[in-house]
Amino acid sequence: MFDLQGYGPLLLQGAKLTIYVGVCSMVIAIGLGLLGVLGQLSKSPVVRFLVTTYTTVVRGIPELVLILLVYYGVPTLIQDISAAAGSPVYVALDPFVSGTATIGFIYGAFSTEVFRGAYLAVPRGQIEAARACGMSGALTFRRITLPQMMRYALPGLGNVWMVLIKATALISVIQLPELMRSADIAAKNTRMPFTFFFAASLIYLAITIISNIVQQWAEKRTSRGVRRA
């Protein structure tokens, strides 16, 4: 049953793209998460309101709907606006760019929550001590808060990554040839859907297992400074 009929390389190529999309989305998500937590700490009520709206709204919408909204909706929206403004432009989004951006945008909301919890876990006294040593707000964040936050945020970020890498399968809907789409192509050509989707699922499983191992290693590394009883 596990004769891949020469489609093995296609699947592996798809897996590579899946990991690439996942890493790019994760970078966006972490960036947005840090921005989000800075926004939540901001003194401006407008900024805080914007961040709260972002996390609340994004967590209420299915990923698939957002992917479709960005991929099909944004170009038509730009075309409609530009047409109304009198100078119509034609826009088409690249599946990779819009898919990665959407997934990153969604999981940015989840990592904002992770970072918020991590920020609250850093003892107040540490920040006060840093200020007393004469560090500015930004320097305190970079030198004191951020490194300690990472220790608390790592388990949460690991979970975000596990969900995110599986969510990248949805980008296959907008025809990006990642793992899921490659499996679909192979399944249609060979008429062996079970074989190929099962093979794809095993590759996803392998990614999950490896991520787990890396996460455990990283958690150990970031808590080197913690005394254990």
Binding site: L64, L68, L69, G73, L77, S201, Y204, L205
Partner: protein, 230 residues
């Protein structure tokens, strides 16, 4: 705007299908998860290992793969499934969607309730044993009610995730909210209007379910509320 008002009845019907599929999967998944969680903590390797393999596979792979495996993959076993007489079931996208969602949520819920069972304070179990309870009765009266309360916040998240994940069934032609929105959008080219409206409907349903689950949580934990006197 006209297009939204015009297609409102169909979108609302899609919302109904979304809720129906989710509710059915959550219900069956819950009924599967409790016994599976008990087996998982039983310590009997022969029983708990297959359950662990099941939860590991369904939690480690994307839901989309699971849906495709069941809906398209079953075609590879057509002869066998037909000989057992269940092939017509697998021809129905709706059935495959519910089956995939059920197995998926059963896997996640099993792990959530396993955590709940392991979180039951040892003293309560000892007390129950001292009162002469054992086996089934101990689980039924003490462990399970307590485990459900402990696991409820995590279980709420799982239900919300499943509600949103149910949008994937539109890919195998089930006409849920996303399915209806995709069809209307493809025909009218009103992409952003329809998808934004669908998103708003999802947000309403999601936060409605969240509110309901919080209500249940407060109800279940009513006995914990401290009485404020004098």
């Amino acid at each position: 705007m006209d297009i939204i008002i015009e297609s409102l009845p169909r979108l609302l019907h899609g919302t109904f299908i979304t809720i129906q599929i989710t509710a059915l999967s959550v219900f069956i998944g819950f009924c599967m998860a409790i016994p599976l969680a008990i087996i998982r903590v039983s310590g009997r390797r022969i029983l708990s290992l297959p359950v662990y393999a099941f939860t590991f596979y369904f939690r480690g792979t994307p839901l989309l793969v699971q849906i495709f495996l069941i809906y398209y993959g079953s075609g590879q076993f057509q002869v066998f499934l037909a000989s057992v007489g269940i092939w017509p079931l697998f021809q129905s996208a709706w059935f495959c969607a519910v089956l995939a969602l059920t197995l998926n949520t059963a896997a996640y819920s099993t792990e959530i309730f396993r955590g709940g069972i392991q979180g039951v304070p040892a003293g309560e179990i000892e007390a129950a044993r001292a009162c002469g309870m054992s086996g089934m009765r101990l689980y039924q009266r003490i462990i399970i009610p307590r485990a459900i309360r402990i696991a409820w916040p995590a279980y709420t998240n799982e239900v919300i995730f499943l509600l949103q994940a149910s949008s994937l069934v539109s890919i195998i032609t089930v006409m849920d909210l996303t399915g209806v929105a995709r069809e209307i959008a493809a025909r009218s080219f009103a992409f952003y209007e329809i998808y934004i409206f669908a998103a708003v409907l999802y947000i309403i349903v999601v936060y409605g379910v969240l509110w309901a689950f919080k209500r249940i949580e407060t109800r279940m934990n009513a006995y914990l509320r401290m009485e404020i006197t004098g």
